[in-house]
Structure formats: C-alpha cells, structure tokens
Point group: C2
Chain length 341, copies 2
C-alpha cells in the first residue's frame, strides 16, 4: 500500500483554564504499513468527551496525563483498511481508542468489532458506548434508583445525562433534568420524557429546583459541580446517593476558589443526612459491559431511550469543539465526523 499521510492533533502545551487553539498542534505524518498482528485503521468517528480536559493537564486524575507532543486521546470508530491480524478483516468496523488522527496502526488490544447492521456505528461512541455505559453503571450501581424516588441530573441533554434520566424514568423515578438554555430544557421534557427541565442559567435555579422536588432529592447524578451542586445539595434527602461521575464546571479551574471553606459543612451534611457520595469511572464496571449492551440496546430498539448526536465535520475542528463542550455549547453527544467511510 502506498504510504498514507495522516493528520494527527497533538498536545502542544498544557492549558491554563479553558483550552485554546495554541494548546493543540496539527501535524501530518506518514503512517507505516501494519506489521504482523497489526491493522491499519481509518478513523470515521471521533468522540469528544469532558474527561479529555483532565488528560491535557498534569494535575492528579484517574488517568495519566498525556505528554506534550502526544496525540490527543479519544474513542474512535474506524474501518479496517489493511489487516495482518486474523481476528480482523479489511472492511470491519471497530471501536477503539486511537485518538485524534485520520489513520492509526494498532494491534487488536482494546479494539472491539462493531456490527453496523445493529445500529448506526456512531452509537458505539454514545448511547451504546462509553457515555451510555457511564450512565447505566453509575446510576444503577451507586444511585440504586427505586420507583417513586426523585432523581436530579445535570448536563441533562448531554451524552451521559440524557441516558441517566431516561433510565431513571424507566425505573419509575421522578426525573428533574438541568441543562443550559431553553432549547435543551424543552428537549428534556418534550423528547426525553423527563418530568421537569430546568435551566441552570436561571437566576433562581434554587427556588425552581425546590419547587420541582417537593419531596427532596434521593439521587443526584453529579457530572457538573459548580452552582448546580449548590442548588441540589441542600435538597438531598436522608440516605441520598450521589454518584460522582464528572465535574465539568471545574475542569478549567486554575486553583481552589475563594472562601468560605464549604468542606466542613459538606461533611457535616454527609453525616447527619447519611449521604453516600461515591466517585466512579466507567472502567470500574467493565464486567457489566454485556448486561449494559443487551439492556440498553433493547431500550433503544424499543424507542424507550432516545439519543441525540451533535456532529462536527472535520478533524481540524476538534479543538474548538472540545472547548465548546467544556462550556456546554454542544447539544447531545458530541462527535467529530472524521471521514465518510
């Protein structure tokens, strides 16, 4: 095969605060032919997710920071262009973690075949992929929803939040979604079937949430932090559960905020309300992948779970799209369409 040129986007410098275009660099490089056991992959879809901000930073996180000059990491759906691996054939569609580049050479570690006849292949990065599984495992294992309970989820029109809320509805809960802007808020109730949608930009979010949750809050699926946390926290019921999945409002923080120090008050509330606050990442529940795929794929097929994609075309637009994601400018699961097929 003739030598392929591949664009790759690497980390040029670590962002301070919000990522800017000069934190990224677009390089063009030769892609080597696959060696024994390897495949050559053409990226079709690249997933953009909030955790990426953490990996650009060298602050402590659950994942190692990437190095300066490393390809930006990310989940991808790719097509096998050439294969020297018996398990994968030319034309196969695979889910992988090959990052922000047009082409990648990889052994089969971490690759999973995607059946394009079952669902659109991009869903392997969304409702049937990491975000969906994050929602499913965090809500069920830590949130433990019971019928009649009140569940609050923020970033509720996003890739994770939208699934959390819909699964909570399927479990018989009252679901309050919080999102940014009238369009997203309408989507929550009109399309996703949430009981209430609230706009986090509203100046009286606290009062609105109080009115929407007259019986208090039993589960808060935490994926934003910030002022939404402040509105939710006082309304948590005794024995409420808080799966901590993300803190997107803080990812661009450059240091601890000013006082007062809310930590002792939070610990006191955890004690007297007997709250459970538990962090998780989706990898912790790897063993539940089959159950997730079986159950959520069925719900999607039956129309019980809807999902929405926000598609940006062109690898070169990934840096700006990631910055927008961190500011809540996407509407639905954010994907970069890297190539047609």
């Amino acid at each position: 095969m003739a030598q392929l040129k591949s664009r790759r986007i690497v980390l040029a410098s670590r962002p301070i605060g919000a990522p800017r275009s000069d934190n990224f660099r677009l390089l063009e490089e030769d892609i080597p032919d696959p060696r024994g056991g390897e495949v050559l992959l053409k990226t079709l879809w690249l997933s953009l997710d909030p955790y990426m901000r953490g990996r650009m930073s060298d602050a402590k996180s659950y994942a190692e920071p990437i190095g300066i000059g490393d390809v930006m990491p990310g989940g991808t759906v790719s097509k096998v262009l050439a294969s020297r691996n018996k398990a994968l054939a030319v034309g196969d569609i695979v889910l992988g973690y090959t990052g922000w580049q047009d082409y990648a050479v990889s052994d089969d570690t971490g690759l999973r075949k995607v059946d394009p006849t079952l669902a659109p292949i991009s869903t392997a990065l969304g409702v049937l992929g990491m975000p969906g599984m994050t929602a499913y495992t965090g809500l069920l294992n830590i949130g433990k929803p019971k019928a009649g309970e009140t569940v609050v989820v923020a970033a509720a029109s996003g890739a994770v939040g939208s699934i959390v809320g819909q699964i909570a509805k399927l479990k018989g809960c009252r679901v309050i979604g919080i999102a940014g802007g009238a369009g997203k808020v309408r989507y929550l109730t009109e399309e996703l079937g949430f009981d209430v949608g609230l706009d986090h930009r509203s100046p009286n979010l606290t009062e609105q949430l109080q009115a929407a949750a007259p019986n208090g809050i039993d589960i808060y699926f935490e994926n934003v932090g910030g002022h939404v946390w402040d509105a939710v926290f006082p309304l948590l019921n005794n024995f409420a559960r808080v799966p901590v999945c993300g803190l997107i409002a803080h990812y661009n923080d450059t240091g601890p905020g000013p006082g007062p120090d809310r930590l002792p008050g939070m610990m006191n509330t955890i004690l007297y309300k007997r709250l459970t606050v538990q962090g998780f990442i989706v990898l912790d529940f790897d063993s539940q992948t089959d159950a997730f795929l079986r159950e959520v794929a069925r719900w999607v097929r039956e129309g019980k779970i809807k999902h929405r994609e926000d598609i940006v075309t062109g690898l070169e637009r990934a840096p700006a799209a990631l910055a927008g994601l961190l500011e809540g400018r996407n509407f639905g699961k954010l994907l970069v369409k890297v190539a047609e097929s």
Copy 2:
C-alpha cells in the same frame, strides 16, 4: 413511696462555640410515683458522648435539637426502684435514654434489660453499647475491611475509635491510630495492639502518617474532621472508604471557616480516586444489634477487645466533663457515675 427529690440538668441556653457552665442549669424536682405501665428508675451511670453537643444546638442535625429547659439527653444504666410494668421488676438493671438526672419515671419504651452477670453494667454504655455498635456497624458495613488493608482511625483511644481499631486488627488490617498526647498514643500500640500510634498534636503529623502508611490508606474511619482529615485525605487509595461517624473537631464551630474553598478539590479527589464517603448513625443499623452483641461480647470475653472507661463521679460534674470530651480531655469511654447502686 415518699416523694423523691431528683436533680436534673437542663439546657439553659444554646452554646456558641464550646459549651460553658452557664449553658446548663441544675434543678431539683419532685419525682412522681410511677403510674400504670411505668417504672421508677434510679440512674447509676450516664454516658457522655460527642453527639450531645449537636443536640444542644439548633443547627441541622440527624436528631432534633432539644428545647431550652429540656433535660439534657443521654444514655443511662439505671436500677428499677418501683415498677408498675409486668416486664420489669424492682432491682432490674436497664439500659435507657433517660438523660442527665438522678431519677426518671418511664414506661418501658426504649428500655432494655441488662444482665449484670454477663459483664459490668457500665459496658452497656460503652463497648457493648452505642459506641461499640457504632464502631462495629460503621467499620463493617461501610468500611468493609479486607485483610492486608490499611485502616486509619482518629480519636483512637476513645469509646468508638478504640473498638474500630481493634476490630480492624481482628480482620487482618494494618491499623494506625491517631490520638492526642503521648499516654494515649502509647496505649494504642501497647494495650490495644494497633500497629502504629500517632499524636495529632505533632507538628509533622502529615509526614508521620505518610511514613506509617507506605501503601496508602484504604479505610479512614472519620470521627474528628479538622486537621486530621487534611493529613489523611491525600493518602487515601483508589476505592478507599470513608465511613463518616463524627466530626468532633467541628462541633464547636461557630460558622464556616475561611477559604480557600476545599469542596471542589475534595469532589475531584472523590471522583478520580473513586472514593466512597458515607455518613451513618448507629440507629441506621438497628437490625444488626443481635449480631453485634453476640460477636463483640465474645471478643471482649476472649480478651480480643479491650476497653477503657474514664469515670467522673457525680451528676453535677457532667457539664464540665462534656466540655472536656469535646476537647479530647477524656481517656477512654467517658461515663458519669451518678449513684453507687
């Protein structure tokens, strides 16, 4: 029976900061004869416990605040002096919640007979009572200790901490106890068999804890808060569990501390280390009382769990003793000997 005079200590005013003598008032009152279904109880032992500070305050807590003029609440071991209740006979020893007074008239709600032939009756307020059960249920249900793990407990020579550490040792854990003062610290290793004892007053507690926990900390039984939390928190391992049982360092706080605001940093750490921070109170595990009594009584009989009482004689000394407890001046389970028998 001739009318009995009973001293009772009531809440005179709500403390601001540490409780002072003028927050209490000692009254002397007639005790009525018991009516049908009631018993007359003579208080022998009164338990003093940190939670009492919370009940003196009208800040939110898991228990209702008591009213001004109400008898100070507290667990007691009493003798039945007169009975108009078929289940209880004169001379019976009972565990109850009759508070800071010499005598009480009560129906049998909340009374439990104590067998004085099994163990000294004061243990019903300590190792075989609420503090022991707090230690047992919090450690086993939330801490979930596994052999080889590292457990840290503060207030480690106290009524709860000493039992937490000894049960953790029985479960095969490495146990680091933190206490105030050389005598208590020595007691942890020499008497209770902890692996390490540290003094929280040491200016380099953080470094000492780091050296004592080379493999990090898997369980932190939180019953103090304050600067011990600051030393422990950075050393928590991935998937560490933090049963939140008490925050004695903060009970006299008069408001939130100055900044920086540590809450977002804590949430971030909960997320990336996948911590579980869970509050509890002993009543949440009521159904485990029999298992607790059976197992811990056996450990006490076999000498596998030791306990220490710090006894103050005279009801009138209870207010000062409670203030001392909140400053860590007790050494072991703090009890007031109200009457000889």
